[in-house]
């Protein structure tokens, strides 16, 4: 049971890592002007909800399997994702808005956010891996 939870989390975490990398690549493409803001934002906005779901999934998994420490580690990130999604102003085209992204250093802050998330997911990845191995051994 426990091993299954962690295997699932691991898979989820891998997906999130890939997503973070994808965000970083796309944003840096935009920074270097390889793609235009419109294309970039529509690409990224598509993945905002999957990312949110992925994050919530691992949070919920940890909650139900009663791994409190990992749950608390996951919770702020999940909360941030949801908050970010909800606070988008009505007229905007999603979390990434092509008309705003070059303003007020938004591009940089998005980039920073994606980097931090990448680091965080990597950390989670090893935690899950360790726990999974532990669980498999215990079985």
């Amino acid at each position: 049971m426990e091993a299954a939870v962690f295997i699932l989390s691991l898979v989820d975490c891998c997906a999130l890592i890939f997503l973070s990398v994808y965000f970083i690549i796309t944003l840096s493409d935009l920074e270097c002007d390889y793609i235009n803001a419109r294309a970039c934002c529509s690409k990224l906005n598509k993945w905002v909800i999957p990312e949110m779901i992925g994050q919530c999934l691992s949070t919920v998994l940890m909650l139900v399997s009663m791994h409190w420490f990992v749950f608390l580690l996951n919770l702020p990130v999940a909360a941030w994702d949801i908050y970010r999604y909800l606070k988008v102003p009505m007229g905007n085209m999603g979390v990434f808005d092509p008309t705003e992204i070059h303003n007020r250093g938004q591009l940089k802050s998005h980039m920073k956010e994606a980097m931090i998330k990448l680091g965080y997911h990597l950390l989670c990845f090893f935690i899950y891996l360790y726990n999974m191995i532990l669980a498999l051994i215990n079985d």
């Binding site: 002007d33 009505m90 007229g91 085209m93 008309t99 250093g105």
Partner: protein, 1196 residues
Amino acid sequence: MSAPGPTNVGSSVSYKQSSAANGGGAPRCQNGPAQTMYPPPTGHYGAPPQQQNYHINPVQSTPVHGKVPITNNTLSPNYYHNNQQQQQHLPQQHVANSSYTAPCSASSSQSYASLPSSAPPPSNTQYTQHSFQQRHPPYTTPASYYGQQSYQVPPPPLHHPTVVPAPSSGSETPLHPIVSYPSSQGISQYGTLSSLQGTSTPTIISNQMGAPLHQYNTSQPAPTTPVHPGYGGGLPSQMAPLMNGQGNPVQAPLQKHYDQSHQTLQSYNSYGGVGHHSGSGDADRTPLRTPSTSVHSSPGHHQGMQYGYVGNNGANSASTIASDPSAAPSTSSSDEDEDEDEDEEAGGDSTSSSTGSASPVPNSYDSLEGGSYPDAMLPSNNLTNEAQAYCNYGYPSMQQAPVSCPDSASPNAMYGQSSYQQFSQPFPNLSQLSAALGGLSGVPELEMEALRPVNLLQERLLLPRRPLEAPEPNISADLKKVNCSPETFRCTLTSLPQTQALLNKARLPLGLLLHPFRDLQQLPVITSNTIVRCRFCRTYINPFVTFLDQRRWKCNLCYRVNDVPDEFMYNPVTRSYGEPHKRPEVQNSTVEFIASSDYMLRPPQPAVYLFVLDVSHNAVETGYLKYFCESLLENLDKLPGDMHTRVGFLTFDSTIHFYNLQHGLSQPQMLVVSDLDDVFIPSHDSLMVKLKESRELVKDLLTSLPAMVSQTRETHSALGPALQAAFKLMSPTGGRISVFQTQLPSLGAGLLQSREDPNQRSSSKGVQHLGPATDFYKKLALDCSGQQIGVDLFLLSSQYADLASLACISKYSAGSVFYFPSFHHIHNPTQLEKFQRDLERYLTRKIGFEAVMRIRCTKGLSIHTFHGNFFVRSTDLLSLANVNPDSAFAVQMSIEDSLADSSLACFQAALLYTSSKGKRRIRVHTLCLPVVNQLSDIYAGADVQAITCLLANMAIDRSISSSLSDARDALVNAVVDFANSYKSNVSNLQQSGLVLPASMRLFPLYILALLKQKSLRTGTSTRLDERVFAMCDFKTQPLQQLMRMVHPDLYRLDDMSDQGALHLNNTVVPQPHLLHLAAERLSRDGAFLMDCGTTFYLFIGKCCSEMFIQDVLGYPNFTSIPANMSYIPELETLLSERVRAFVDWLQDNRAFSSSIHVVKDDASSKTTFFQHLLEDQSESASSYQEFLKHIQRQMS
């Protein structure tokens, strides 16, 4: 070809389509012969033949003049694959021509004749066919759209310009032998020209050429003193077009020309105030022959600009005329074509050239810069004398040598000498530059004055006597002289801090305020094969680069070294070789290049205008339609564009109506689409029609439209689908959509709900709903922007129409928003008048299509945020589907790396656009500022107006993204922080009270004024739409206008004296002092003028002297002045003249003319006047003194 179809407008063919049936398939709309008659649309811009046309181009070119290259720009022709080989004489001259006319007429010449002017054979391409052309090789045809012109020149005398004796057709016309080469003649669609184009006889032609342009002959050694027609004073510029049209040589604005033999590249032309060059008559009389130097400037202010190019073209031809054959050994490229270069826009540019090793023809410039104008070097005040301004801004270099010898016996000799001198001048190199800079570490007096501590609580009279000027950057006089005009380019800190840390310490925002496309009085236009740019950062060469030696220059933005191309070594102004630092690019910080095909992603688009009109019941009630149609009818000829201009109309209520205006129909045909879910375009090629061909139909439609819809009962408004339809209609070409809307959109996509709660209008808490309610308009705007469509919104509604959402359509497609609250044609004459005035300006103002603007800055600086209407495509690139001369931009900057390496930092804004004549142009502005490391220097150079405007933009962003109260707090904090910073870092006085440096003494006043603006005020009842509109306005208004709106100028008029008055063109413009905006400054016995930017108020006190009332207003006494007087009568009294001169002078450089209201001391309109007295307490806002005390409390 005439289509007998269902052409009656009344009997509209209606395409009812059940939306369920099929997704709006086109097949359904095939009824009516009109549709079937023409081939289906395919091409870029419509029907295939036309498309063909774009590429065909002057296959026929060929000037056989062999050695005489035609100088005009070689660029656009190249682009169009024109294979004009030199010396090649191809038989088919008319490819392009016929292709144009293919759809409608067999004979090409007739097709053109359909110009309204009914000029027989208009002087456009047709000329080629006329027989006289053969006889007069030089006469070339003007232009077809893309610069192809089909002129055909028979093998004529080589090496020699043809001399066409000018007929003495006009009694005043002196005999000018006109030497002409094939050159372009401007065509214009404008009525004024028709007279010029009317005839096809050779005599007239030469007359024609002679008329608009006046060459001087200067190369005859020692003729009389070259006349300087210009500079004198003269014709009101409005007359210019007229004169041109009449071809009256004596009075026509003088076009002086530099003819740079063909080798040279550019001509300087200015938009000129005609005034500069009037008086040319004398000049004309000088017999002419031979290479003449002429400069010419086209008439006109902005209004006149459209006409200006007439002169230009003339000038072009003149320049070719003058060219000296010997100097024209074969040019390197196929420059033989001349394109007509109708550069109306630039006002003038003319000659161009290619590289070549031509020995410069000695020539005198006297006529140009005029010996008669020796004081050109003096710093001039362009307010007082335009001519001076011309010199000052324009060509500083040229004044140096040649000019100083006005009466030279032999200009040639002089010229030669001077050029040698120049040649031997060393290049300024880095060390010299820095030495020069080092020498100015002071300007101590100015700085001291700017830093003088001012205790605001004690000093009450802070306003300068005259409106504040922009502070001058503290750089060497040489650089100052060439620096960009503050009206175009302004920085909040004219001394840049070295590091971000220092900037943070200063507590002032760093940013730029740009007005890149504003109407300029003069602008050097450069046609050159290679536009010299930095290889690494792509910066355009500018006056602030450093020449390391003759062959290398160092970029001032990235500091890397580039080579100077060969072509650049030749200086067309002085016609000498080897002085790249004297080229106009290096002498002017604002220049315009004619771009080559490298700067195009597709063929430049023609001018395309689509009008989307609300015809619902509500719209009909307001009655705007009639005035719109009238205004458009009146200005149809003045719409910027050329023979390819297209127009279209689309009206909507709960359905969408298209108008088939295809040439050949006897009446416009209305097509109704009622399927709003999936809007389709019933006919592709006949809805956007060439104005030239379908002018009569357009006129018909405009005349009948108001009556047609007057009976409508439909109250719904399907704006969203109408915009989608407009987008589909325009997406093949791009262009401008003008939307007129009178209510909240209530049907189809993009429908909006009313979000305003009238009870919250005066709430002092937050204001909700400042942001858009839906992303529909934003998405559509981005789609439009991608297809190079700009959308301008005219909102004329009395009810809430959710401007916050609607404005997005313009905001992100680089359009403009106009709002006329409570518009009604009978009940609200003020708004009606404003609507008419604004609409006229809107229709006739210059426009640039498919534009992008890039802002580059010295390494270490980076752009943080943009403000204005556009779409930011990448970090420093703005995409502007349309660019208009009235909108400005603001940019916030941050300092990423230390700027310590250099003592100067530069900003360059390059605007690449397609003119309404289908020319790709680049306008480049460069601003140079010193870098300092002392806080006191930063404060000394702070530009309080620019700071206020930038803060206003930031506050608006803040109020939308966060809340209004946040934004207000941030503004107050900006003052508090600044005062604190000044107190702790710079001021060493232990004075109590609120002390600021003199340069910033108006800062709290301006911030208070901002807080009392409609956009940011709280507590006073403000309708949401008006508030949102005020916010939009803040983002797009140019600085001067914005400052007048924020802090109006108040003058007392009844005791004006002539002391210190300006003398302009025989009128005396008094200069009364500025007064503080407080009721205590008013008096009962005075008359005061308040200038609020868009409105003037003339306040008449109760005890105002009857003499003033009589002299200025024409009424016997105070009581007899009517309540709603909104004009100043033209009376013959001295006082009236002074007052009108002053008001006119204030209006002079304004895009939209302001209305004037006479406000009596007792009238109810008094409140609107008193509302602008910002220093007084109002119902909900504090007075200035209270505000200062508040600031002081916050400090601590």
